[in-house]
């Protein structure tokens, strides 16, 4: 009998609270007792019911992976003979050996291994390759004999004042102008402020003595007029001196248009009248002057490299200038080395500030002390600053093309040799004069000479190429003479040096292109989206070099392989 009650509920009534109604009990079914069955049953008394009040656990087995060990014996006197061969019986072993010898595998293996082995055996017979040969032979001395000696010393009679600048008379003259600058921290001169013109022949007394009002920092001969010199003073003024008149400047610029700081460098420029020069100093401005009218500069430029055409150059942001460079054959361009280590190329003909200072190189970690173009390779220039000397190429903006390792002592000045294309003279803080010849060795100087004990501050070479005047901190000028072979260039030198510069510049360009690629990839990765390069820089220069270099290399390799 089923005790079930079915009721239907409409879907709209789902979820409603049950509404109960009273209803009396309704009897569904009843089963009456069957008395006859009573006899089949007895009452159970007592009833034993065990209980246990414990928690219920389950059982589970776990074990780590067992490593199987077996113990076997091994006979080390004989190899791993199979079990059926009696080791002591020579015949059995021989039989086994013969059997293996007939095996295909064995023959194939021996035939394949033998030729290689043959080669090595014969190689061993031919030469003992584990020995170092020629170790006991002494290194040959260099064929070229370089030498350098001091021929004369020009001492300062007025105490030991550090050299400010040296300038040779143009057209191979016999005279050179020297400025001395001995000031304390507050720019007060500690000893006399005279500057001299020395004649090479007479080391006892200077030929001409100039007495400016305040210390002269730079005095340069006019390349067109042997008797005229331009100088920069410590109070910011520039002046013109005449060799024939001792004493103070013939003409000085007006104080209100002078530089705001001392004038560290003056240089004559190429002009029709031959009487124009420009000056610069730590105040960060370059001023061009015409000797005929010194009441105001003809032009002024603030050395402030602007990033966009909207920025205005301002003296507050300018970089102080520590050295100037000018090449007469490129009339409207010049270069400045700044006190914070940049080399900035300038163009006088530029119309916007961006055009006026087009190039900027990060050269050194400190002020750039010397900046000079190679007289024959105008695109390459050398800079010295911090502890290295570097050679740059104008088209490689990111890094130098050739550079020296960092030295123990500061490098104070450097200059190219006017006659030998690849020679550089470098002076160091420990009084050492080093000559670097890029055609002989690039990792160390060709010749070093300890000129004096005190630091060397300036060096300038005579136009003839043999004499170099080095100025030291104690006010002494050491006239050093280089040996003849260091003053001349061979026929091939220009070609070889061009090849060297080309090669190094190419290497730098390839590296530059690669760095640009890497930077672009990083930038794209940061932005997250694969943006097609909007700034379509020109990687073709770097890639072309790379393609050229790879084809050259493959050709050389093919040639070598064919010749072998």
């Amino acid at each position: 009998m089923e005790i079930a009650y079915a009721y239907t509920k409409r879907r709209c009534d789902f979820g409603r609270q049950p509404l109960f109604c009273e209803q009396g009990p309704e009897m569904c079914d009843t089963i009456s007792t069957n008395v006859a069955e009573h006899k089949q049953y007895i009452l159970r008394n007592p009833v034993h019911q065990p209980t246990q009040n414990t928690p219920c656990f389950s059982e589970h087995y776990v074990n780590t992976i067992r490593a199987e060990y077996t113990t076997t014996g091994a006979n080390h006197a004989e190899g791993g003979w199979p079990k059926d061969v009696n080791v002591v019986d020579p015949e059995a072993t021989q039989r086994y050996r013969r059997k293996i010898e007939k095996d295909d595998n064995y023959i194939h293996c021996v035939m394949s291994l033998a030729p290689g082995m043959d080669h090595y055996v014969m190689q061993n017979n031919a030469i003992d390759m584990y020995r170092t040969y020629y170790a006991e032979m002494p290194t040959l001395p260099a064929v070229e004999r370089n030498s350098c000696r001091t021929v004369n010393v020009y001492r300062d009679a007025n105490g030991q004042r550090p050299i400010g600048s040296i300038s040779w008379q143009p057209d191979g003259g016999q005279r050179f102008a020297v400025t001395y600058c001995d000031v304390d921290f507050n720019r007060n001169p500690r000893s006399s402020v005279v500057s001299y013109i020395w004649d090479i022949e007479n080391a006892n007394n200077p030929e001409v003595i100039f007495t400016p009002t305040c210390p002269l920092l730079d005095l340069q001969f006019n390349p067109r007029d042997r008797n005229m010199l331009a100088g920069g003073l410590m109070n910011g003024q520039v002046g013109v001196w005449d060799r024939r008149h001792d004493g103070d400047a013939s003409i000085k610029c007006a104080p209100h248009v002078a530089h705001r700081e001392l004038v560290r460098n003056v240089l004559f420029i190429n002009s029709k009248s031959g009487q124009e020069f420009f000056s610069s100093g730590p105040d960060g401005a370059c001023k061009w002057w015409d000797i005929r009218n010194m009441s105001e500069p003809t032009e002024e430029m603030i050395i402030d490299v602007v990033k966009s055409s909207f920025d205005v150059q301002s003296m507050a942001n300018s970089n102080g200038v520590s050295t100037l460079e000018y090449e007469p054959t490129i009339p409207t361009r010049f270069m400045v080395g700044t006190e914070n280590g940049f080399v900035i190329g300038g163009n006088r003909k530029g119309k916007t500030p961006m055009e006026k200072l087009p190039a900027k190189f990060e050269a050194h970690l400190g002020p750039v002390w010397s900046l000079e173009r190679n007289p024959n390779f105008l695109k390459n220039f050398l800079t010295v600053g911090d502890w290295t000397a570097r050679v740059w190429s104008e088209d490689c903006r990111e890094s130098a093309v050739v550079w020296s390792p960092p030295h123990r002592h500061k490098i104070t000045a450097a200059t190219w040799s006017p006659t030998r294309l690849s020679l550089m003279l470098v002076t160091q803080w420990n009084g050492l004069l080093a000559t670097w010849d890029l055609l002989r060795r690039q990792h160390e100087p060709v010749l070093t000479m300890q000129v004096c004990e005190e630091p060397l501050l300036r060096v300038r070479m005579h136009e003839g190429g043999t004499l170099a005047a080095c100025g030291s901190r104690k006010g002494n000028i050491y006239m050093t003479e280089l040996s003849q072979n260091m003053a001349q260039s061979d026929k091939n030198d220009k070609v070889l040096l061009t090849a060297i510069f080309e090669r190094e510049a190419k290497r730098e360009r390839i590296l530059e292109a690669r760095m640009r690629e890497i930077r672009l990839k990083l930038r794209q990765a940061e932005e997250g989206s694969p943006v097609a390069s909007v700034t379509d820089f020109d990687p073709s220069a770097g890639d072309r070099d790379l393609a050229e270099a790879t084809t050259d290399y493959m050709q050389a390799v093919k040639k070598e392989l064919a010749a072998m």
Partner: protein
């Protein structure tokens, strides 16, 4: 074919400076040797494990690489070992001075 193998081994041992040639199988049994037995067995046993170690060094450093040749240069002689899948070929040579 067996003669060829014999010939090759014989030619190898005829080179100048060669002291002996041993061909060892995978179990360490010298199959063909020109040296006497106990020396061969010594070479076989010692070099077998060395070749295995060298092979594992090369494979561990670069799994695509494989050992091709092993040369042990000592003061008095040079042992050259060419390994194969199942056999190794050992040649002992005296340096030519």
């Amino acid at each position: 074919m067996a003669n060829e193998a014999e010939e090759t081994v014989r030619k190898l041992s005829a080179h100048k400076g060669v002291v002996g040639v041993v061909v060892v199988n995978g179990e360490g049994i010298p199959i063909k040797t020109t040296l006497d037995n106990h020396v061969s067995v010594q070479y076989a046993g010692l070099l077998g494990s060395l070749v295995d170690k060298a092979k594992s060094v090369v494979r561990d450093l670069d799994p695509t690489n494989d050992l091709t040749f092993l040369r042990i240069r000592s003061k008095k002689s040079e042992v050259m070992v060419a390994p194969d899948k199942e056999f190794i070929l050992i040649v002992v040579q005296n340096p030519v001075e």
